[in-house]
C-alpha cells in the first residue's frame, strides 16, 4: 500500500472531513477497513483458502446465473448476521461471562435470521423468491456464515469492522463461485474422463484456482 498512500490519504481526508473525524484517526480506520475487505475477498478468499461453503460450491457452480444468485443471497445474509453476532457477543456472551454458549447462540441466531429473510422475501417479491429463496435454507448450514461469526469474535473486530468483514466474505464467496461457474460452463464441452466428471474435476480446478489466488498473499504488507 506504500506507493499509492499519498493519493489515498487525500481521498480519505476528503471523505471523512465533513463527518468531523480527525485525519489521523480516519486514516487508520479506513485503511484498516479496506485491508479487511480485500483480505476477505481476495487474499484469504473464504472458499479457496479456508475451504468454506464447499457444498454449495460443488452443487451450485455449474451455471453462472445460479452461482451469482447463491452468492448474492449469502452476501446479503452475511452482511447482517456479522453485526448481529457481534452484538450478541458483546452484550450477552461477554457481559454475562458465558462464552461456552457461543456456538449454540450463534447458530440459533443464524437459523432464525435466515428463516425471517426467507419469509420476508417470499411476501415481498415472488420473483426474488424464485431466484434467491431456494438457496436460503442451504445457507443456514453453510460453514461460511458461522465461520465469519467465529472469526470476528476471535480477532476482536469492532462493529464496523464486522460489517465490512461479513460483506467482504460474501463478496469473496460470490467471486469464487462466479469464477468456478464460468469455467464449468466452458468445460461442459470438454472431454472430461468419466471418473472425474462432476466433483472430481471441479475440485481439481478449485485447486488450480487456489494456487492462483495464493499469488495474492503479501499484497498487503
Amino acid at each position: 500500500m506504500g506507493m499509492k498512500a499519498w493519493a489515498f490519504e487525500d481521498l480519505e481526508a476528503g471523505i471523512l472531513q465533513p463527518f468531523g473525524i480527525s485525519e489521523k484517526e480516519g486514516l487508520f480506520r479506513m485503511r484498516e477497513l479496506l485491508g479487511i475487505f480485500i483480505g476477505a475477498v481476495i487474499i484469504n478468499n473464504f472458499v479457496l483458502r479456508y475451504f468454506l461453503g464447499i457444498c454449495p460450491f460443488l452443487g451450485v457452480s455449474n451455471r453462472i446465473d445460479s452461482a451469482i444468485s447463491m452468492g448474492l443471497a449469502v452476501t446479503f445474509v452475511m452482511t447482517f448476521v456479522a453485526p448481529i453476532t457481534w452484538l450478541i457477543n458483546t452484550f450477552i456472551l461477554v457481559r454475562f461471562k458465558v462464552p461456552f454458549l457461543e456456538y449454540v447462540s450463534f447458530i440459533i441466531v443464524i437459523a432464525a435470521f435466515v428463516q425471517l429473510v426467507e419469509m420476508f422475501v417470499r411476501k415481498v417479491s415472488s420473483t426474488l423468491y424464485r431466484t434467491l429463496g431456494i438457496y436460503l435454507p442451504l445457507i443456514t448450514t453453510n460453514c461460511v456464515i458461522l465461520f465469519t461469526a467465529l472469526i470476528l469474535v476471535l480477532r476482536k473486530y469492532t462493529f464496523i469492522q464486522s460489517v465490512i468483514f461479513g460483506f467482504g466474505a460474501g463478496v469473496g464467496f460470490t467471486l469464487a463461485l462466479g469464477i468456478m461457474a464460468g469455467i464449468r460452463e466452458e468445460i461442459d464441452f470438454a472431454d472430461v474422463p468419466k471418473p472425474l466428471q462432476g466433483a472430481g474435476i471441479t475440485l481439481i480446478i478449485a485447486g488450480l484456482l487456489a494456487l492462483a489466488f495464493m499469488g495474492f498473499s503479501g499484497f498487503l504488507s
Binding site: C55, C143, P195, G200
Partner: protein, 216 residues
C-alpha cells in the same frame, strides 16, 4: 448372519465405510476434510471428534424423535449438535491444546458439518435407537478413515512423514503444495476420481458375472 435384523444392523454399520462413505461418495463434510488433512494426526483427531458428536447426536435425536414437531426439527437437531460440539471443543482445549490449536475454528464448524445434520434428518430421526447408533458409528468411522487416508497422502508427499514419524529420507524434496490449500483440493479431487473408477470397475465386474451366470 443369524437373523434378518442382525443383517440389517450390520448393513447400517458397514455402508458408511465404503458404499456410502460420506466423503468420497456422499460428498458431505468437505470443509473439514480439506482443512485439517494437512497431517495424519489432525485427520485422526477431527475424525474422532466428528464420530463422537455424530454418535451422541444420533442417539439423542433418535430417542426424542417422537416428541419433536416437524416444523422445528432442523432447529432442534442443530441445537443438539451444537451442544455436543461445545463439549468436544472444551475437551480438546483442556486436554489436547496443541491439537485444538491446529484444528482451530474447524471444531466449532462441526456444528454445520453436513454429515451430521444429514444423518439426523435422513436417518436418526426416523429410526429406532440401535439402527441410528449403527449408522452413526459407520458414518463416523468411514469419515475418520477417509480423513486418515487423505491426510496421510498429503503428509507423506508434503512433509515426508506420517503421524510425525519420518518416512522418507533426506533425498526426498517435499512437495510443499500438498500441505497448502491447493494441494487439498487436488488430492480430494483425484481421490474422488479414483473412488468412482474403482466403484465402476467393481459394479461392471459383478454385472459381467451376473450376465455370464444368466447365459449358462
Amino acid at each position: 448372519m443369524k437373523t434378518l435384523n442382525q443383517y440389517i444392523l450390520f448393513k447400517d454399520l458397514m455402508k458408511g465405510l465404503w458404499k456410502e462413505n460420506p466423503v468420497f461418495r456422499l460428498l458431505l463434510g468437505m470443509c473439514p476434510t480439506l482443512a485439517v488433512t494437512t497431517a495424519a494426526i489432525n485427520g485422526l483427531s477431527m475424525g474422532l471428534a466428528v464420530t463422537f458428536v455424530l454418535f451422541f447426536s444420533s442417539t439423542f435425536v433418535s430417542l426424542i424423535r417422537r416428541v419433536v414437531p416437524i416444523q422445528v426439527r432442523i432447529a432442534t437437531f442443530v441445537v443438539v449438535i451444537a451442544t455436543f460440539v461445545t463439549m468436544v471443543d472444551l475437551f480438546l482445549k483442556g486436554f489436547f491444546p496443541p491439537i485444538s490449536k491446529t484444528l482451530g475454528p474447524y471444531v466449532p464448524l462441526i456444528v454445520v458439518n453436513c454429515i451430521i445434520l444429514a444423518r439426523q434428518e435422513a436417518f436418526a430421526s426416523k429410526s429406532p435407537l440401535h439402527r441410528a447408533i449403527a449408522d452413526a458409528l459407520g458414518m463416523g468411522i468411514g469419515f475418520t478413515l477417509a480423513l486418515i487416508v487423505l491426510a496421510s497422502v498429503r503428509e507423506i508427499l508434503g512433509m515426508g512423514s506420517i503421524f510425525g514419524i519420518r518416512l522418507l529420507g533426506d533425498w526426498f524434496r517435499p512437495w510443499v503444495i500438498m500441505i497448502l490449500p491447493a494441494g487439498a483440493f487436488l488430492t480430494l479431487g483425484i481421490a474422488i476420481g479414483l473412488m468412482n473408477l474403482l466403484t465402476s470397475k467393481i459394479t461392471s465386474k459383478s454385472e459381467h458375472r451376473k450376465e455370464n451366470s444368466f447365459k449358462s
